[in-house]
Amino acid sequence: MIRKGLSIKRLVSVTRKEVIHILRDPATLFFAVVIPVLELLMLGYAIDTNVRHVRTIVFDEARTQESRALLRRFENAEDFSIVGEVFTDRDLGEALVSGRARVGIKVPENYSRRLQAGQTGQVLILVDGSESSVAAEAVNVSNAIALSESLDRLVAGRALPVEARPRVLFNPDTRSPNFFIPGLLVVLCQMMAMMLTANAIVREKEKGTLEQLFMTPVRASELMVGKMLPYLGFTVLEFCGIALLMNTIFGVPIRGNFLTLLAIALPFFLAMLGVGLWISTRAQTRDASLQMAMGTVIPSIFLSGYVFPLDSMPTFFRYLAQAVPTTWMIDASRGVILRGAGWAELWPNAAVLSGMAVLALVSSTAMFRKRVS
């Protein structure tokens, strides 16, 4: 009876063969290398969650010194950009409906008179609610502008009793790339790891090559590990590559130790490869496996806090998010890159991810063994 551990020879054979497959398949190679870089450039340059330069139209019915002073405040705020002036209520409404402007400001004809009479001068701010973040920001900033205008009038040169001095730590300019790219780094590697491995076994099923392999002494574990190694290698390379681009092109500083991050990322990658292999074992065709992989990647991205902050999710989803490896990895990525966190802060992430990796690998190997017989 031959009962040894993993055979290194068989493992190396599987790995070498898998590398040849990857290198000979231009579509996969393109998918693996070019697409993530494109996505990075696209998302890195295009996405800005900070609301700026909201197109604004004004209708100054009062045409007084006071009304012009107020409008100047709006103009000076970075949030608004005045794109035009109208002279009737109808045109104001029209500008919003047509999408020419997202915000309409109307200073009524009696504005200055009411101020001088000691009454409240009312200003109408119309906000297009179809983009919730823009609308919320416009409402907040308008309120703030109105408030500061009011205060100026009330205190008339005296010092303000209270002033908040906010200081945004870790990302002082609230630059979007700083927030997004550490998350994107994780998400892109997750996609790559899962999509590629989801293909790995189902491809052999489709081509009928798996049947031949089953007739050889190769073991399920050797096949799994042998197939995983090249994908793990590719994913690590991609991770480093994207981190480099992030640091050089987008100027996102890495405050912590990159090796710490890489060490935490390793169990994350293994978990993703495990899930990919699990899918590959279940699916009968490559199309099915790709769909299953997409179906897994997308919810995990939305739940992970990559786009939507975890803190604003309903309790149930907040707990659900804890079960998603991506959540822990994005937290670690932002921790190391933005906050300069190290092992002292991030060991729980590493521990949880390691646990998830073991679970994914064990269950996918078990599933594979079951399918074989």
């Binding site: 055979s7 007739m215 017989s373």
Partner: protein, 317 residues
């Protein structure tokens, strides 16, 4: 422990394989000896591939036992798979790998070390004439060369038993004959061959043949033995070969005749199983030539299948 010349290479005892409610192999017993070329025939879905998979320990037995090269199929599958070769009907090597890379891969899978692999590869390359095709992607080889490459990969580790599951399906006649020549060379070198096939002429070449249908092994023997199986030409009947004339019309007439048990067209002739007392004249064959005929293997298998279908439990004899 890996067997000697007197021990059977394959020994199956009352083996049963079930998939849910379906019984794919039913209490099958079989013995294949050292150096035999054993042919397994049977219609699609009769259990041929299932039997091979069970012998390699890929499918557990629901009952009975199977030993291959002295190893128990259910408990020592890995030992079995290290010492057998397998080649399937469908080309199942990697099409985007060159012939050489495929061989390298399987050499590694079978645990050959580098120098061992090199020697064995060049030996097989020369023998199978693969030399000019080594650096070509295997997906771009023609059917016959693909099968040769598959055979080379299956022989790298010098297996003592090779399973060939319809190895000649879909390749041209010349390549088919070449492949069989290679197989006989192997058999001469003490490699036991277990071949499944659809082709009667291939079955005729085998040392012994088994016929499997609906999971039952209905008959085993040399082709000659099978042809003289009592059930094939029951006593009181004989086989006639009828040729010439309007074959299609003759066939219709024969099938309607009460004394004709079976009538089948073979090329330009009809093979008929008729009662002994029947004369060509009484059959109304007119100008057709009639001569006494030996049953072919096909006659044997047709008879066996019909008998099985008519049996009350649908099972074997």
């Amino acid at each position: 422990m890996a067997g000697n010349a007197t021990e059977p290479v394959i020994e199956v005892n009352e083996a049963t394989v079930r998939f849910g409610k379906l019984t794919a192999v039913d209490r099958l017993s079989l013995r294949v000896d050292h150096g035999e070329v054993f042919g397994l025939l049977g219609p699609n879905g009769s259990g041929k591939t299932t039997l091979i998979r069970a012998l390699c320990g890929l499918i557990p037995l629901a009952g009975g036992s199977a030993r291959v090269l002295g190893h128990d199929a259910s408990r020592e599958a890995e030992a079995i798979r290290s010492t057998i070769g397998y080649m399937s009907q469908k080309f199942s090597l990697y099409e985007d790998l060159t012939a050489r890379e495929n061989m390298d891969f399987y050499a590694g899978i079978y645990g050959l070390n580098v120098s061992e692999a090199r020697v064995r590869q060049s030996e097989l390359v020369e023998r199978l004439g693969l030399g000019p095709y080594l650096d070509r992607w295997s997906g771009r080889l023609s059917g016959g060369w693909k099968q040769r490459l598959a055979l080379a990969c299956a022989l790298l580790h010098r297996p003592r038993l090779v399973f060939l599951d319809e190895p000649t399906a879909g390749i041209d006649p010349v390549a088919r004959r070449d492949l069989w020549d290679l197989l006989f060379q192997l058999a001469a070198e003490d490699v036991t061959l277990f071949v499944t096939t659809h082709y009667m002429d291939e079955a005729e070449r085998c040392g012994r043949v088994g016929y499997i249908s609906l999971g039952h092994l209905l008959a085993v023997g040399t082709p000659e033995e099978l042809k003289h199986w009592p059930g094939v030409t029951p006593s009181g009947t004989r086989r006639l070969e009828i040729s010439g004339g309007d074959i299609a019309a003759l066939l219709g007439r024969l099938r309607d005749h009460p004394a004709v048990r079976q009538a089948t067209i073979f090329g330009q002739a009809i093979h008929a199983l008729v009662d002994n007392e029947v004369t060509p004249e009484s059959l109304g064959l007119g100008a057709a030539q009639v001569r006494q005929a030996e049953p072919s293997l096909e006659d044997v298998f047709v008879t066996l299948s019909r008998a099985q279908q008519q049996a009350p439990n649908g099972g074997g004899s």
